[in-house]
């Protein structure tokens, strides 16, 4: 029975946070309680992390699960969802307009939600245009800015522009107060932390001395001694005409300065507000994990609230389980003997009208053993990284690898259940430490430990 007890498997992983309580229901309940507390207390969840780790899916799963279990009006604001996910949420091609995910979608997933789930995409150019209209002193100036050929270029390419817009939209939605919980998925940026600095940089940009320099040519630039060397070079390199175009545009842009600066400050304050929490998503691959670790440190250094660390696409804990590994090794070593016993019992191969040849069976067995050895290597490395990351943060959830994609509400809620640390439908007393593969290893019984969702990868899709 206790095939996963003790041994090297329960090693240092059991040491931290979950401690003795790791094995069994209390861990899951603990995780659920903490997460529900967190999401009930917060109004804003900002999901960030390195590119390609499934941030959008995790954001949507968090929002859907919060709407289903906690109630209230929950909005997920996504940047660039996969088409099938956008379809599943009913937001494909909707731009900035929020749309309610119908209760029928929940019903199809077998869930009666306590609250309401809304979803919206982030349309960059629509959002920028909206900002200009709001902060330009009059409609005429707004029109001039919007039709300036430099405008589109600048807003699309402005470093951190996308991050700023995401944070800005978040602020706007929060101000409107239509939702109890906002989950915002952040755009993939060069550096995941850029978004934290984006409002500040925007404010700085408008207050910059350099911006004033640039505007000088319209007002007798030679008077300004400090900027003269710049212009001597800039003239030669860029040509004065371009500089004047640029200056002309910035003079228009400057008219929005006050509004922008005040707003950027407000956005900044909101990110630091007690009602805001950050969720970091990563996979347990070497490079993303390093990025995630840096992100954790930076959040800490900025005194921002890190609510949850989600490790996505984690292989089943059984793959790094030594006793399973031993069985796999034996399977490979004794493949020919095994094949002998098996071949006679296997059904006829319809095409060949004969029993499968012993060596074919042996080849299959060897392939099975090799596959396991391959995944074991990856799973062991993952377990190590998870251990490192979990020591960096208390509330850590591991979401199992899900082949195919999360494309409907049902699978989103399944992912949510994994984050919550339970199986969703399972009676709470039986739910196990599914949140951490490490924990699973130490669990007394394997069945509920690996659970249906963990077997997702192994079931046919």
């Amino acid at each position: 029975m206790s095939r996963r007890d003790g041994g090297p498997g329960s090693g240092p992983g059991a040491r931290r946070s979950a401690g003795a309580g790791r094995a069994g229901p209390s861990v899951a309940q603990d995780q659920t309680r903490r997460l529900e507390q967190l999401l009930s207390a917060k109004e804003i969840v900002v999901t960030c992390g390195p590119g390609g780790v499934g941030k959008t899916t995790i954001s949507a799963a968090l929002a859907a699960t919060a709407a289903a279990r906690l109630g209230g009006r929950v909005l997920v604001l996504t940047v660039d969802p996969a088409r099938r996910l956008a379809d599943a949420l009913g937001i494909a091609g909707l731009g900035n307009t929020a749309r309610r995910v119908p209760d029928e979608a929940f019903a199809e997933a077998g869930v009666r939600p306590k609250g309401e789930l809304y979803a919206a995409m982030l349309d960059m150019s629509e959002s920028w245009d909206g900002l200009v209209r709001r902060y330009a002193p009059d409609p005429g100036t707004a029109g001039q800015i919007l039709s300036n050929p430099l405008y589109k270029n600048i807003t699309q390419r402005f470093a951190q522009g996308h991050d700023y817009i995401a944070m800005e939209r978040l602020y706007e939605l929060h101000e409107q107060g239509d939702y109890d919980l906002l989950v915002v998925d952040t755009p993939p940026s060069l550096n995941a932390l850029d978004l934290l600095d984006a409002p500040g940089r925007m404010a700085e940009f408008f207050s910059s001395r350099l911006l004033r320099w640039l505007i000088v040519p319209y007002r007798s630039r030679l008077v300004n001694l400090a900027s003269r060397p710049f212009y001597q070079v800039a003239d030669r390199v860029l040509g004065s005409q371009f500089l004047e175009d640029l200056a002309g545009f910035f003079i228009l842009f400057q008219t929005m300065r006050e509004g922008f600066v005040a707003r950027a400050d407000a956005v900044n304050r909101l990110l630091r507000d007690v009602r805001t929490t950050f969720v970091i998503v990563t996979t347990l691959e070497a490079v993303p994990a390093v990025d995630a670790e840096q992100l954790i440190e930076s959040l800490r250094a900025r005194r921002l609230h890190l609510g949850l660390l989600v490790c996505n696409r984690v292989l089943p804990g059984s793959f790094s389980d030594p006793s399973v590994g031993r069985t796999a090794e034996l399977l490979g070593q004794r493949s020919s003997e095994l094949a002998e016993s098996l071949a006679a019992r296997l059904p006829l191969d319809k095409a060949a009208a004969s029993r499968p040849a012993t060596d074919t069976v042996a080849r299959v067995l060897n392939e099975v053993a090799r596959s396991f050895a391959n995944f074991r290597l990856v799973a062991t490395r993952e377990a190590e990284l998870l251990e490192e990351l979990s020591t960096a943060h208390e509330v850590t959830a591991a979401v199992p690898y899900h082949p195919g994609n999360v494309t409907d509400l049902r699978s989103l809620l399944e992912v949510g259940a994994r984050i919550w640390g339970d199986e969703g439908d399972a009676p709470s007393g039986q739910a196990s430490a599914t949140d951490r593969p490490r924990g699973r290893r130490g669990a007394g019984s394997s069945k509920e430990a690996t659970g249906p969702a963990a077997q997702g990868p192994s079931s046919d899709h």
């Binding site: 099938r84 070079v233 860029l238 399973v324 095409a351």
Partner: protein, 318 residues
């Protein structure tokens, strides 16, 4: 020598997290092993290249990895300084810093300046013939189009000045399909494939750079033939599991867990194939699609680069 290595300038790009850096490093390593004097440059100085080669920091001035291989990181301010010194012959190189800062600001504010400093530096290395091949670990999907489109954009925005006179030869290099190509990297998953298809289209429409090839990275091999898969499915039945468990002195659950790994490999492979089929159908037929295997060993570092280079070499020869 494989055709891919006969280019002068290759931009390796794709969605974040698909293994761009490893693929760029592998191409560069392979080229240098063919005796091509190779420069590999990371467009975003994050230290990814140093991690891939397990070497120290790769400065703007370059770090020699081996006889024919130099690695560098882009630094637009250093690029500007070099440009002012070499091309514009601005005398105040020594005290350029305030001017450079001002430029940095213009580069942030004005479209295309930073991009042209990146692309210009790389084209410069090609033009001067310092290297036989320049491999760029380029920015991910979003900004690479901006970078490669910058010279054209600048041409439209700036009508006079030195920058303007520079864009012509840059455009000539970028637009020459025998010298310059883009390598789009993807993995057999929904979003990376969708982005790769999208990127292939945008490169063609918005930039002068032609698509040299698409690389499908981390592709799992086919585990079983059809009759083997039948056998494998049979193994999952309780009676077989029990038999195996008995013979191995193990338990049914443990055997099941062992089989789960192969089942995962089969499922992931099957899911990936559907995305790869979509990829093949959506990119132009004349663009080669190269497959690189999923590495179960370390996913980064020099060993991974070597393994990918070996796989790439085989793939390029077939």
């Amino acid at each position: 020598m494989p055709e891919l290595l006969s280019y002068k300038l290759l931009f390796v790009t794709g969605k974040g997290g698909v293994g761009k850096t490893t693929v760029a490093a592998a191409i560069a390593l392979l080229a240098s092993e063919h005796g091509r004097r190779t420069l590999v440059c990371e467009a975003e100085p994050k230290g990814d290249l140093a991690r891939a080669f397990e070497c120290g920091p790769t400065p703007f001035g370059g770090l020699r990895i081996s006889e024919d291989l130099v690695a560098m990181s882009m630094d637009t301010e250093a690029s500007l300084r070099e440009y002012l010194r070499v091309v514009a012959r601005v005398p105040t190189v020594g005290h350029i810093s305030p001017v450079a800062r001002a430029f940095d600001f213009v580069a942030t504010a004005a479209p295309g300046i930073r991009e042209i400093l990146t692309v210009g530096k790389l084209s410069f290395e090609v033009r001067e013939g310092h290297y036989d091949l320049v491999v760029v670990d380029a920015s991910s999907t979003g900004s690479v189009v901006g970078q490669l489109a910058a010279p054209t954009g600048i041409n439209e925005l700036i009508r006079v000045g030195l920058v303007r006179s520079q864009t012509d030869w840059i455009l000539e290099i970028l637009g020459d399909p025998s010298r310059t190509g883009a390598v789009v990297v993807t993995t057999p998953e929904e979003m990376p494939v969708t982005e790769a298809i999208d990127l292939a289209g945008r490169l063609a429409e918005e930039t002068p750079v032609h698509l040299a090839c698409v690389v499908a990275n981390r592709v799992l091999p086919e585990l079983f033939g059809r009759s083997e898969e039948q056998i494998f499915n049979e193994l999952g039945r309780p009676a077989r599991l029990d038999l195996i468990a008995r013979e191995l002195d193990s338990s049914r659950e443990l055997v099941e867990d062992v089989l789960a790994a192969a089942r995962l490999a089969v499922t992931v492979r099957r899911d990936g194939v559907s995305h790869l089929e979509r990829l093949r159908a959506e990119i132009p037929a004349e663009v080669p699609l190269l497959y690189l295997p999923y590495l179960f060993a370390r996913a980064h570092g020099l060993r991974a680069v070597r393994q990918v280079a070996r796989a790439l070499s085989e793939e390029l020869l077939t």
